[in-house]
């Protein structure tokens, strides 16, 4: 158990004992991997872990727990998604307690049938801009060890996006793992066939992925949950990152960095580019 974990557990124990929160979203071991867990009793805090396998963004659960007081263990990017959720009126900042954990990056999760040996730092972590959540009620410093990246080559540089899209099963894992995808009737899942039919795979995968990219533009906090959840490992975060870059270049705006920073109005000030 690392010092960070010890600190984390003591914070959570205190929160639960004082009944500041009803439950805390954290991570636990199962087998050799890590998964989300919901801790609601002080005696359960021993389950909590914090390491570089904690790639899942727990903020995804916040919206379904809207009516409750919840504590959440948040990496830098998770914190950014909390900021976006608050800005978009989806969660009440007052009802969540953010336990920020300093993050050094997470590993790509091991996928079924992969021939890769050794752990790899997730590509999106190489582009990380905040190792600590921009919103925090508690801060756990030096969270985890710096991941030993056994693959020094930066990410996959696949550029044939069309063939990447073609691999897609349209299983919706990217959408469901995303903390910022919370539409009641997802327009690309097929509730209405206006853009994407429910079953037309692979014909409509182009529209599927581009629409999702457009919907994430200027909102994606690049937590990589979609990419890590994807069973066929489409590097979605890289796509959304490009669109965020567009926002940065045109408006100097990055999502999730501050609660007071409203998303820019979608206009060019004078004349625009060309």
């Amino acid at each position: 158990m690392s010092r960070a974990e010890e600190e984390l557990r003591s914070i959570v124990r205190k929160l639960l004992e004082r009944k500041d929160v009803e439950l805390v979203l954290g991570y636990e071991y199962y087998g050799r991997s890590v998964r989300p867990c919901f801790v609601s009793k002080p005696e359960e805090v021993e389950r909590l872990v914090w390491n570089s396998d904690c790639w899942f963004n727990l903020a995804t659960y916040l919206r379904s727990l809207r009516s409750r007081r919840v504590g959440i263990v948040a990496k830098g990017c998770d914190g950014r998604s909390i900021v976006e959720l608050v800005k978009e009126n989806q969660v009440d900042r007052g009802s969540i307690v953010v336990i920020a954990v300093e993050c050094n990056g997470v590993f790509k999760p091991f996928k079924y049938g992969s021939t890769h040996v050794g752990r790899r730092l997730a590509d999106y972590c190489r582009r990380c801009v905040t190792r600590v959540s921009p919103v925090a009620d508690y801060l756990v410093k030096k969270g985890g060890q710096a991941p030993e990246d056994e693959n020094t080559v930066a990410g996959d540089n696949a550029s044939d996006w069309l063939s990447l899209f073609r691999k897609c099963l349209k299983c919706m894992a990217c959408v469901k793992a995303c903390p910022l995808c919370y539409c009641t009737e997802c327009s690309i899942e097929g509730f209405k066939p206006d853009l994407v039919h429910r079953l037309r795979v692979p014909q409509e995968l182009f529209t599927f992925h581009l629409t999702r990219a457009l919907h994430m533009a200027g909102r994606c906090v690049e937590c990589g949950a979609c990419e890590s959840a994807c069973p066929v490992e489409i590097p979605l975060t890289r796509l959304y990152h490009e669109l965020n870059e567009w926002f940065r270049e045109n408006y100097g705006y990055a999502p999730g960095m501050s609660l007071s920073e409203a998303p820019p109005p979608l206009v060019f000030k004078e004349g625009g580019e060309d």
């Binding site: 087998g31 867990c37 091991f110 021939t115 299983c171 014909q203 949950a225 069973p231 490992e233």
Partner: protein, 335 residues
Amino acid sequence: MLFLDEDGFKRLLEQLVSNIRVIAPVETDGYFEFKTIKHGGEASLDYSNTRLPPKRFFLPQREVVFKHDPKTRALHEPMGGLEAVLLGVRPCDASALNIFDSVLLKPPNPDPFYESRRRSITVVSLSCAKPREECFCNVFEAGPIRGSGEDITLTRITGGFLVEARSRRGQSLVEVSASLFEEAGPEHLEEYGELTCRLTREMNSRIEISRERLVRLEATLDEGFFQQAAQRCVECSLCSFTCPVCYCFDTEDYFEKNAYVRTKGWDTCASTLFTRMASGLDPRVSRVDRFCHRFCHKLSRIPMAFNSFGCVGCGRCVSLCPVGVDIREVLKRWG
């Protein structure tokens, strides 16, 4: 039992490739995927398992059921599959085909699309030598050596493969190239016996359950357990899409290019759209309901209706689930 040495195997592969479409695991981007190969060398048999099961060769993700042209009043029913050999399927994935057979070919209304594909594809399985960590095929007798849906089972032993024809179609494939095979010798059979023993022991030490008890899952449902576990589930439906057994489908009709088209494609019980009816009513309205359903269906309802479990223990859902939902926890608790 026959024996096929390394060289014979290569020759067999070349023969097959030149005569018929051969689909075999090919390594791409760090994974193995089933692909049509042009020459024997493309196939790699040194894999734990393919990332995705070979389900799509039997049940494509989307297929046209019929097209109706109102002008000519003609009905087109695309039918028939290309003759092919699917080589290197793991026993668990091959066993899934057995489940498909009992569900989809059940009289009086067998699925003609599945039937024609199943008939045209010869399945050659390859036993596991090193089961993956998340594998639990032993629970459903779907491996690691022999599955239940294949035409031929290959087992790698020293110097080559043990070949067991499991069906008439498998038998005839062997007969076509009979000269390449030889009768397995006692040393081969001994090695095979040892391998079977060792792997069964290894697998059983991980997890061993009572299948009779498991079937009663739905009747003895412990809501508390599922409520806890469902809390974690984000309903991404990745488990259904990567499952070799999940065969649930939906149909969709539309008008395109002056014809009405009915298509059929994979659906998933994790989606809120799965049970929603035209009236808007959804009998499975909560996440826990949908979550429970997946397990009850696989472990209770399919076995009661079709006498085989809806799971083959390949471990894909366990490994790929982004939030660590683990069917083995259900097995251990109820089995």
